[in-house]
């Protein structure tokens, strides 16, 4: 190395460095806006710290190979995998590990073609769009169809693997999916497992976390529970959780949408009543109790 022209940074103030990069802001936003997900947040903090140190090392001339940043997110439906992927992209962008910071979110449809010779251009097109950012492959296990050995998914996998290896500094690939099926997917594609540095597991939410999520969502939509409604909703969560096809935060969001529906219906039913802003904002216990989850007929999947 030419010492005359490249003076090396000797000492770095970590606090200043953190402030200039501005990731602390994103991390605390992550803490505030995402409820629960303790292990995920810890892991993201670790990755962010590693990247920060890596950045400083680079400036000091302690060169090391660019770290592998491909990740896999596993967890049940509605545990926040996509939301976290978006945040990761902006963290990586701030730290300069991806150049543009866009997230291209795809599923099998967008990668795999319908006839011979269709898959490679299709996969490459998506890869080119994702260059400089993050490629998020949702339900990645659909790429591999073990029952059909002539499935074009294998071709897409091979192209992906090649680019993941050879252009590590150009894009970051995040695979997401439900835990058990991802395990099977990795077992049949060992190449993927070894090229992915960070396997992050998203735990299910606890009852109180689901309640906090519901209140956060309602606040964003300018609604609020009355104290009675809140107590009923706690019961609702406990009951809904034990029904089939419960998908964490997504089920909560759907439940809230139906609550809004019933609230509007209740308000419209009484035309003579003069409404105040409070009436329109508040969700009453009766709105919650009208849910089918409380009744006997709570069998259907996404029952109100």
């Amino acid at each position: 190395m030419d010492l005359d022209t490249a003076p090396m940074t000797e000492a770095v103030n970590l606090r200043d460095e953190l402030e200039t990069v501005g990731i602390e802001e994103i991390l605390s936003q992550l803490d505030r806006e995402l409820i629960g997900l303790k292990p995920v947040k810890t892991r993201i903090r670790e990755i962010a710290s590693l990247l920060l140190i890596e950045r400083i090392r680079k400036r000091m001339g302690l060169a090391s190979e660019a770290p592998t940043l491909h990740m896999s997110f596993t967890g049940n439906p509605g545990t926040g995998k996509t939301t976290v992927a978006l945040r990761i992209a902006s963290i990586l962008h701030r730290l300069g590990f991806v150049r543009r910071g866009q997230v291209v979110s795809v599923t099998r449809d967008e990668l795999v073609g319908q006839y011979i010779g269709h898959t490679a251009p299709k996969t490459k097109e998506i890869l080119k769009k994702a260059m400089g950012g993050v490629l998020f492959i949702d339900e990645a296990y659909y790429l591999h169809r073990p029952d059909n050995e002539r499935d074009y998914g294998q071709e897409a996998i091979e192209i992906l693997l090649q680019v993941m290896e050879s252009q590590r500094e150009d894009l970051v690939v995040i695979l997401a999916g439900y835990g058990d099926r991802m395990d099977k997917f990795f077992a049949s594609n060992p190449g993927f497992r070894s090229r992915i540095a960070h396997h992050i597991d998203f735990p299910d939410y606890a009852d109180d976390e689901l309640l906090a999520i519901a209140e956060l969502m309602l606040r964003d939509m300018n609604y609020g529970f009355t104290p009675d409604a809140r107590a009923e909703f706690v019961r609702y969560i406990a009951l809904r959780k034990n029904q089939p096809l419960f998908s964490n935060a997504r089920s909560i969001r759907n439940a809230l949408d139906r609550l809004r529906l019933r609230q509007a219906n209740r308000l419209v039913a009484d035309l003579d009543h003069v409404l105040t802003a409070d009436d329109i904002r508040s969700i009453e216990a009766s709105d919650v109790l009208a849910s089918r989850v409380f009744g006997k007929g709570g069998k259907s999947a996404e029952a109100g």
Partner: protein, 139 residues
């Protein structure tokens, strides 16, 4: 004879780093960068063949460079150029194009003078390379 067509052709050949910076500029302007190749160097040959599909919605030059590398692998003995297409209303045409690959040897052009009535002369230029059939012109 060095063929000079499009932008930058009077400069020394661009390095990959320089090409990538130019491509990034085009993408930031919202233009779609495409790869074309030919082995007919005549300046009036507008019909270059396209490598792959048009590349819309790219954010980073790395995608174009990846395709360029592939194209060079197959057609490294021909002329390859990048063209930046502006799809915005009122333009809808190529805003920038430059050669990024050329054959090792570029035979020059033959000038033919055709004598017409009344001492008039018509001029025609033909590339020596074009004497050979397509695909076998260079190397």
């Amino acid at each position: 004879m060095r063929v000079t067509q499009g932008c930058f052709s009077f400069l020394p050949d661009l390095t990959d780093e320089q090409i990538s910076r130019q491509v990034q500029y085009c993408l930031e302007q919202g233009w779609a960068v495409n790869i074309e190749f030919t082995d007919d160097p005549h300046p009036r040959n507008h019909f270059w063949e396209m490598w792959g599909l048009p590349m819309f919605d790219l954010r980073d030059a790395a995608g174009v460079m990846m395709e360029l590398k592939e194209c060079r692998k197959v057609y490294g003995d021909r002329y390859i150029r990048l063209s930046a297409f502006d799809s915005s209303h009122g333009w809808e045409s190529v805003r920038l194009s430059f050669i990024v690959n050329r054959p090792k040897e570029e035979p020059s052009f033959r000038l033919e003078r055709r004598e017409m009535a009344g001492r008039n002369i018509r001029y025609t230029t033909t590339s020596y390379a074009a004497d050979r059939p397509e695909g076998r012109r260079y190397g």
